[in-house]
């Protein structure tokens, strides 16, 4: 492509089918904690 550069190759949709196992870290977003946006969490699968 000439006009567009896509940064991520992975489509979120593909993650839903096998997701939700719950092994990853809980992600408190509050100011007093290990806060972060969910999007930076690691998937444990």
């Amino acid at each position: 492509m000439k006009h567009i550069i896509t940064l991520n190759k992975k489509n979120l949709k593909k993650t839903a089918a096998k997701g939700g196992c719950g092994e990853c870290q809980t992600s408190c977003q509050s100011a007093c904690k290990t806060s972060c946006t969910v999007a930076n969490q690691k998937c444990e699968k």
């Binding site: 567009i4 992975k10 489509n11 979120l12 993650t15 809980t26 007093c32 806060s35 690691k42």
Partner: protein, 456 residues
């Protein structure tokens, strides 16, 4: 749904439902103002008409066809197919697997913004005894179903005020985890005043992460984070934190601070901490009653937005020199982030995650501690309040006000339930001030990624 913005001279288009992040040129950026799904293969006439004064017709058509290709590939104007997972039984019946253990409702500092009312959560100074700590470990082992990784954060007040018990709890958990086939990950959040070499060595050995509270520059820190006698804490804690970071090597830790109306130039605090040798840094807006002098209000937003942009530029400057800095709120994993289901509800509070007080009472999370009406049970009392657990399990992007139409939804996951409760009086009503800051941070975070990708 898409979200487009220009930051740092880069035109960015986010396709919300696929997670697609696209960098586009001016022309493509402009075309997006004129098109809505469903897209046709042929470039619509109105697009050509609107842009032909500024661009050649073939060029417009070529850019459009690239957009169409993304559309066909489901990474532009993709649909939100995730609602079906919101009520997934596995999530609704998720076992408890993470705990915030309040080992000390007491503190040796008197930070004025403390949400825990100087450490005691408004209910008197208390220290957790070892028996209660052990019961908390047993509770997690017995109630975590098939989850292998268990998280336990030693929290307070100030957990180092009860460190002997912390050590014994860790020992007990390590003795027990194998029999259950579990793996405990311990973390601790501390103000640092009581850190000693012994404690540092123990923490570095046993804790997978450690949060060191400091607000940045001495003047900023000492205005809020004061000792009981009113003096500042900076000189006491800074050298201890440096010692800990040095001894810790590559293991995770971070220094975290809070900004208030007093330091809306908080990028300087991040840079100060970086200059002092820390490269894992988090500085976040204080959560507090808007009546307080130092409370952030809507009128501060333009200043805060500009400051986040400045910080993003500074971080780029540092990274381009080949140096390392992580600002927590700008961390986004565009490649291997969490699955869509995880993103439907952020923290898991009251469902997978609970807080336990020194008395053994259970609350949805540390920020609900002390709100009697939210108490969910106690370590003695057997079962959790299943109604409350279900309520939190069901809180997701699709039933929080405004979230399903918000472009930031899969980065934010619906914000902080406790903040929502404190500000809007309802777990399901996001706090707009927090939302605005969240969205700005996401824009900056993605811009930093884009800028780094372009310069590679």
């Amino acid at each position: 749904m898409i979200h487009k913005y220009t930051l740092g001279g880069i035109n960015i288009v986010l396709d919300i439902n696929s997670g697609g992040v696209h960098i586009v040129d001016e022309l493509t950026f402009a075309i997006l103002d004129y098109i809505r799904p469903p897209l046709s293969e042929k470039c619509p006439d109105n697009v050509v008409m609107a842009l032909k004064d500024d661009y050649r017709e073939e060029e417009i058509e070529r850019a459009y066809s690239e957009l169409y290709e993304l559309y066909k590939g489901d990474s532009l104007f993709s649909s939100d197919d995730y609602r079906q997972f919101a009520a997934d039984e596995a999530v609704l019946n998720a076992p408890v697997k993470a705990m915030c253990l309040h080992v000390a409702h007491d503190c040796n500092l008197r930070c004025s913004y403390c949400f825990a009312s100087t450490g005691d959560f408004g209910s008197g100074r208390r220290i957790m005894d070892l028996e209660t700590g052990k019961r908390a470990i047993d509770y997690l082992l017995e109630n975590s179903g098939n989850r292998r990784n268990l998280e336990l954060d030693f929290f307070g007040g100030e957990p180092l005020m009860n460190f002997d018990v912390v050590k014994e709890i860790v020992k007990y958990a390590r003795e027990r985890e194998k029999a259950y086939g579990k793996n405990f990950r311990f973390t601790i959040t501390t103000n640092g005043v009581l850190l000693s070499d012994d404690k540092i060595d123990f923490i570095n050995k046993e804790m997978s992460n450690i949060v060191l509270s400091i607000d940045g520059r001495k003047s900023v820190n000492d205005r809020i984070r004061t000792c009981i006698d009113g003096s500042g804490s900076y000189d006491i804690i800074m050298k201890k934190f440096k010692n800990l970071a040095k001894k810790r090597g590559d293991k995770e830790y971070y220094v975290r601070g809070t900004f208030t109306k007093y330091n809306l130039d908080f990028a300087d605090d991040v840079l100060h901490l970086y200059d002092e040798g820390f490269d894992q840094i988090s500085i976040e807006p204080a959560v507090c009653d808007e009546e307080m002098d130092w409370a952030i209000t809507a009128e501060d937003l333009p200043t805060i937005f500009a400051e986040y942009e400045r910080l993003a530029d500074e971080i780029l400057r540092i990274r381009r020199k080949g140096e390392h800095i992580n600002f927590f709120h700008f961390m986004i994993d565009l490649g291997q982030g969490p699955c869509a289901i995880k993103r439907l509800r952020g923290c898991g509070c009251g469902n997978e995650y609970i807080a336990v007080t020194p008395e053994g009472d259970i609350y949805p999370c540390h920020q609900f501690v002390g709100m009697e009406e939210w108490k969910m049970g106690s370590l003695d009392g057997g079962n959790l309040d299943t109604q409350k657990k279900k309520y939190f399990a069901a809180a997701n992007l699709y039933n929080k006000e405004g979230c399903s139409d918000c472009w930031a939804k899969f980065y934010c996951s619906g914000g902080c339930n406790a903040n929502n409760q404190i500000y809007a009086g309802d777990v399901l009503k996001p706090h707009s001030l927090a939302c605005e800051m969240q969205k700005k941070r996401i824009e900056c975070a993605i811009m930093v990624k884009a800028a780094m990708a372009l310069s590679e």
